[in-house]
């Protein structure tokens, strides 16, 4: 193996093991030797397995133990105020299981019980109110699937190819089915007569944890599709995602999805909290920063093959798979290039109609074993085409930190090993 193309140890171990296994099985078939996994009685076909209730709340089988969230220690000062990454390279479909959905805390994840939970609605409302968790369950509720993407997803890559893996370049995202009460229902319960003209009003939403993360949201959005959610993928939210109640702000940056939601205040101006001024603002080349960059623009990434998911089967049929999403609505098309953007083929999309949710795409193709520069490009219902890194840099420079939705390139060599690269 060319030493320059050394993959990560895990990828190497996995591909090595797969190649070894392939050699045995394939070689055996070629020589006409029967496969012992078939001809010999295996333990699992003879002994009995685990009884029910052995694991009252099930966990993935041990063979999948490397499909976990991962934190890059040196990125942040402390894991209490940090982020980790969803193993998107190893998932398929669109729904992110809660247990491997990325975490972002500003002062750590807290244990807040339903009994101790209170939600205050105050400010420019007719009746400042306090709701208990039980109160929230008595309002009509809805179910929606939405993606939640941290504004800093892919942020390391502004200055060039950095982290080798889709999990690390694009893993600050998850996609869940939420159950919750429309925020507008709660605002209406408190009454908005006192707010007068709603067009220039805001809601300030705040969490119960020590960071008391707070963000200002324009009233128009608050009355549109924002949910006060208490279930995800059918079960209670996990502690790390804001149990028992979090805000869901579809299509907008993850920081606004306040966890452990404790207060919604109707205001006549943006609060200009720390998280909407000193952070989550995008500095451009001339030193001027953009603020209120809430929407997450259309973006996509190939999850397999990718650095953590090398091609281990050699030339022949190959499924290129990935995820696409847009904060502006539906994904209508995804194109895939194998030559770094010279030519493009349109991929096959999953279920149509999901808005502000992950869309799965596949390009079912033949690999001839030659090197590839794999790229994907998402197009959303507004006609917006995911930009290249050069287009973004030309527009914004390299210091924006947030909102990097560039086209990602994976270099796949003859051996099927993939690496994060930038191309001309």
């Amino acid at each position: 193996m060319d030493e320059f193309f050394k993959p990560s140890r895990r990828a190497f171990l996995r591909s090595g093991a797969a190649i070894a296994a392939g050699t045995v099985a394939g070689g055996a078939a070629a020589q006409g030797t029967p496969d012992p996994k078939i001809t010999e009685l295996q333990d699992w076909a003879s002994y009995t397995g685990a009884g029910v209730d052995e694991t009252p709340y099930g966990l993935p089988i041990k063979f999948e133990s490397d499909v976990v969230r991962r934190n890059v220690e040196w990125l942040t000062a402390s894991p209490i105020s940090s982020i980790n990454f969803t193993p998107i390279h190893a998932l398929d479909g669109t729904i992110t299981p809660q247990g491997c959905a990325f975490e972002r805390h500003h002062s750590g994840a807290i244990e807040l019980s339903k009994e101790d939970y209170r939600l205050m609605i105050n400010g420019l409302v007719d009746r400042p109110l306090i709701f208990s968790y039980a109160d929230l369950e008595r309002f009509p509720r809805e179910n929606h699937v939405y993606f939640c993407e941290c504004a800093a997803n892919t942020g390391m890559e502004w200055a060039g190819a950095q982290l080798n893996g889709a999990q690390f370049t694009h893993g600050m995202i998850h996609n869940m089915e939420y159950t919750g009460v429309p925020l507008r229902t709660l605002l209406r319960e408190a009454g908005l007569e006192a707010a007068g003209d709603l067009s220039d009003k805001w809601v300030y939403v705040e969490g119960a944890d020590a960071s008391s993360n707070g963000r200002s949201i324009p009233m128009e959005k608050a009355l549109d599709d924002v949910l006060v959610a208490f279930k995800a993928n059918g079960e209670a939210l996990r502690m790390e995602h804001g149990y028992p109640v979090r805000l869901v702000v579809p299509g907008w940056e993850g920081n606004m999805w306040v966890k452990w939601l404790r207060r919604v205040e109707v205001t006549d101006m943006a609060v200009q909290s720390r998280e909407e001024t000193s952070k989550y603002t995008d500095v451009y080349e001339n030193g001027i920063a953009r603020k209120w960059t809430w929407v997450m623009d259309a973006k996509s990434v190939i999850t397999s093959p990718s650095p953590q998911m090398p091609i281990t089967h050699g030339a022949g049929p190959l499924v290129i798979s990935g995820l696409a999403w847009s904060g502006h609505g539906q994904i209508t098309r995804v194109d895939v290039s194998k030559d770094g953007g010279i030519t493009w083929e349109t991929a096959r999309l999953g279920k149509q109609g999901d808005t502000k949710a992950l869309t799965r795409f596949y390009l079912d193709t033949e690999w001839d074993g030659s090197p590839m520069l794999l790229q994907s490009r998402a197009i959303d219902e507004t006609g917006y085409v995911q930009p290249t890194k050069d287009q973004l840099r030309e527009m914004r420079g390299e210091n924006a930190v947030y909102h990097n939705n560039c086209i990602q390139t994976w270099f796949v060599n003859e051996e099927g090993i993939a690496e994060n690269v930038e191309v001309s």
């Binding site: 205050m120 309002f139 179910n143 080798n164 500095v283 493009w344 109609g353 030309e394």
Partner: protein
């Protein structure tokens, strides 16, 4: 509070029934009484009826208002449902409210509603000077932020960084970046110290903020901050932010039908992942990548007409360089046209540019600096064009061309060769 028009309707009926009974009773039981007495009774009854009628009118108006408000919310809900897919039918909107939750008490509002707005609303009374602030800061903040607010390890730097916002790695501190002082007070008051949030007194918070201002040379060492002079403090970067302008600058350009074939002439790897194994098995630092960009293959467009079209009409120019220039010119295409039928767009048409007087394209409205160059008879030479392309705003201060400049010298040479290949 009344629930609905349906509740009002029976109430009006009962009032009418009562009035009818009153008339009947009055004529039977009080028949012997004088006409005068009867007239008084009738007048009273008529007055009652009028009052009841007015009340009914008010009630009907209230009901109509509630209906209208309900309809308004129903419309918002319907619009939201139409705009996005839902796994459930949208939540219904009732007339009136659900009467869920309870009124928030004054003490509760006082405890949780503590955010401070940019105009100083929400600040409690109090004061603190720089000297006190230094003591409190060293005791409660310096372990992470350093004695001089310079930051320890990966923890935030709070002071300095002035004039770095346009640099490669901007230092975004309270002094150099934060646009509102209220943000600092609010965040420190609610979320700091890390691990002991909410324990500072108002005076301590004023003192810490005063010290941070002093650390940033924004106030003198005898400065005292209070609720009285709070809004007088001017922040260095208060004008440093613009509201999200992606719709005008980016969406307008990037909502276009994308290229599918021969989109580039050649593609090379320009950068490879910095960190190869991001999260090594044993933990700790990520493993660096020792591969170099030269190790990768070069991809070319299979259609070779791209590189040859320009060569037919050019003398002595390097066809490879011209082809590269055509590629580099893509970054100019959003504003400039060149070649057959080229016309003025955001920027002037560029045919026959080399050797021409600067600012001489007919029908284009040039900036003052170009008009001056034109008057002075300055001419586009490969040298002057190279200087301009490398730093447009530096060489032609006041130019309307908002392009930041071409970074690579090779691209500049290629662009000039490409432009030279087009006659007037």
């Amino acid at each position: 509070m009344s629930k609905s028009l349906n509740l009002f309707a029976p109430a009006i009926g009962i009032t009418a029934l009562g009035l009818g009974l009153a008339y009947g009773l009055s004529s039977r039981q009080y028949g012997a009484q004088t006409i005068e007495t009867l007239e008084i009774r009738v007048q009273q009854i008529e007055a009652n009826a009028a009052r009841a009628s007015a009340e009914a009118q008010t009630a009907a108006e209230e009901a109509a208002r509630l209906m209208s408000e309900r309809d308004q919310f129903q419309q918002i809900a319907t619009d939201a449902a139409n705009a996005s897919t839902s796994l459930t039918a949208p939540a219904p909107v009732v007339e009136g409210t659900y009467e869920l939750g309870r009124a928030a008490l004054g003490e509760e509002l006082a405890a949780w509603d503590v955010d401070v707005l940019p105009d100083g609303r929400g600040l409690p009374e109090g004061r603190g000077d720089v000297y006190t602030g230094e003591e409190v800061f060293v005791e409660k903040c310096a372990s992470c932020h350093g004695d001089f607010a310079e930051g320890v390890g990966n923890w935030p730097v709070l002071a300095g960084g002035f004039d770095t916002l346009a640099d490669k790695d901007p230092v975004k501190t309270v002094g150099s970046y934060w646009p509102h002082l209220s943000t600092a007070w609010d965040y420190i008051n609610r979320s700091m110290p890390f691990g002991e949030a909410g324990t500072l007194t108002p005076d301590e918070t004023y003192a810490i903020v005063a010290y941070i201002l002093y650390s940033n040379d924004l106030v003198d060492d005898d400065f005292e901050l209070s609720h009285e002079n709070f809004t007088e403090v001017e922040m260095y970067n208060s004008d440093g932010f613009v509201v999200d302008d992606r719709p005008e600058l980016e969406y307008a350009q990037w909502r276009t039908e994308p290229c599918m074939a021969n989109c580039k002439d050649t593609v090379e790897i320009t950068m490879r992942a910095t960190f190869l194994d991001v999260t090594p098995e044993g933990g700790g630092e990520s493993v660096m990548n020792d591969a170099t960009t030269g190790d990768g293959p070069v991809f070319s467009a299979s259609d070779d007409t791209v590189a040859t079209t320009a060569t037919d009409e050019t003398d002595g120019l390097d066809p490879t360089l011209i082809a590269a220039g055509e590629g580099a010119f893509r970054q100019c295409k959003s504003c400039h046209q060149v070649g057959e039928n080229a016309s003025n767009r955001t920027g002037p048409a560029l045919n026959g540019m080399l050797g021409r007087t600067i600012g001489s394209v007919e029908g284009f409205r040039y900036s003052n600096v170009f008009q001056e160059a034109n008057t002075a008879g300055e001419v586009w030479t490969p040298e002057s064009l190279a200087a301009f392309l490398a730093d447009p705003r530096g060489t032609m201060a006041g130019t309307k061309m908002t392009f930041r400049g071409v970074r690579e010298e090779a691209d500049i040479a290629a662009l000039i060769a490409y432009l030279q290949s087009f006659e007037d």
